[in-house]
Symmetry: C2
Subunit: 308 residues, 2 copies
């Protein structure tokens, strides 16, 4: 592991900081003698970090796209306190269906309604991928949607199934320790469940899990959140609020504010530039760059892990 | 889900592309009638995407820091074909120990040697966090290291325990579908296992899992890889090579090349700028910015999921 040598001219103070060897662990006196840890007992998975049964305290907030307020936007979500520690879901209707005179909100809303209902079935809700597949199969509306479902087991295991660019973050002690990766065909064309054949199905979901402990915070949202709010901002808001309802509202409000700010260098505009979209060359020469938030439906669910 | 409206002046072709509604699913004729999927059978977790027992075909490559070639660098790794589908591990010795006249490579190498040996114990290697904890407890060298261990179960579940800024990516059909998040106290000071007390332990590991299927590729590496090579580059190299040994070497070679390129705008320099490190203001006015790779030990393991 090397010193972080960067090769351009930086001020001396920055150089000193960047060129120093990587620091040792924190909070230990250099004079402390080495101490050996005792061998950890072969424990079961959940017992390492979660010593009692857990569940979610949840808050949620949805802000429709400014031009779609009339029908409540095209996002949908549910929160279910079921037999396990809780089930959360978000779906985001694909707006392109409006060109075919199909209301893009119908599919996402029906999908989440079925998922919420099916979450009461203990066998189905043990597996978020199966839950997503059964909810999809039950949905009769025309349309398509991205979707994520997360199931918290009482031992602290959070199971996730994700199709498209909804997302999930886990925040522990002021850090993002886990995040999902969006699934796209190409920039801004996510994987999606649909009423049509030859599209993605529940079997295309990324299925993963992460072991949680009491005090962890889970943030689930549509891309309207993650395209407009950086992870560090999510951490700041979540860490500053003891109340999950307040935190969800604050995150949605910040996403909404950024989404309408043409000068904000959002995660979305950063990604667009990475993919080759930018201002004309003459503007770049003058220091210009493509910026701006992305107006969208914004859904945020905040779940804090608590003792049951 | 809204049109991606960005607010600055972009060329018309870009505007047209960016302002269009989000597209529907691919590969379906607009004239196809809606078709209903049959309800998915309540299958067991593994049977959804993995229909037979799986294991890893693996390749690995390590390139020491140019100034540490003599002792082989401070990274260490192991690959074990054990009773399950395979166990992979990478550790990265913390260079700051050299200031105390301690060889930073000893701790990481002993840690991985113990982990490799313990991976033969079926009970221990079922849980990468327990495996990491037992390897740590058995290590008597002075020093500290970041470490990641990944265990592939034969049903396709990849279990991961991660302390610090080693990392893991899963690539499926040309996309990163899963990645770990680095754990740091602050920029360039990662969580680390140590010979000293009052530091992180196995219980501070992020423990997660992801369900794999035949054909998926797992890339595990030290930060020397991920600080110098973008995910899209990893995808390109992995997708272009049928041979995991060639792929691991190509990734390490690219990381090494970038690490020594003062003009390369690396993931590390991007992150440094995000954290507030940059060239002096007068250089920024002239369009300058902090760039450069990060010379480091570079370890890459590539594992492709195959039928057993």
């Amino acid at each position: 592991m090397a010193s972080p040598v960067l090769k351009t001219s930086v001020s001396l103070s920055l150089l000193q900081r960047l060129l120093s060897p990587r620091p040792l662990k924190l909070s230990t006196s250099p004079t402390l003698p080495p101490r050996r840890r005792s061998a950890p007992a072969p424990a079961t998975a959940g017992s390492l970090t979660v010593r009692s049964e857990v569940s979610f305290a949840t808050g949620a907030h949805l802000i429709p796209h400014p031009k779609k307020v009339g029908r409540g936007g095209e996002d949908a979500f549910f929160v279910k306190n079921s037999h396990n520690g809780g089930v959360l879901g978000v779906a985001d209707g694909v707006s392109g269906w409006a060109e075919r005179n199909v209301d893009p909100s119908l599919f996402s809303k029906e999908l989440m309604a079925h998922a919420s209902s099916l979450a009461e079935d203990e066998e189905v809700s043990n597996d978020p991928q199966i839950l997503l597949g059964k909810a999809h199969a039950a949905t009769s509306s025309r349309g398509s949607a991205t979707a994520i479902i997360a199931v918290l087991e009482k031992d602290g295991t959070l199971k996730i199934a994700n199709v498209g660019d909804c997302g999930l973050r886990v925040i522990r002690k002021g850090r993002v320790i886990f995040c999902t990766s969006p699934l796209e065909h190409y920039f801004d064309c996510p994987f999606q469940l649909s009423s049509e054949a030859l599209t993605q199905t529940y079997s295309d979901a990324v299925v993963c899990s992460v072991r949680l402990t009491v005090g962890d915070t889970v943030v689930v949202g549509s891309d309207g959140l993650f395209d407009n709010v950086f992870d560090q901002e999510i951490v700041s808001i979540v860490s500053a609020s003891d109340d999950v309802v307040d935190a969800a509202k604050a995150l949605a409000d910040l996403a909404s504010k950024h989404s309408l700010d043409s000068g904000f260098d959002s995660p979305y505009s950063l990604e667009a530039r990475t993919r080759g979209f930018d201002v004309p060359a003459w503007k770049k020469v003058l220091g210009g760059k493509l910026t701006g938030g992305k107006p969208d439906d914004i859904t945020v669910i905040v779940g804090r892990v608590t003792n049951s």
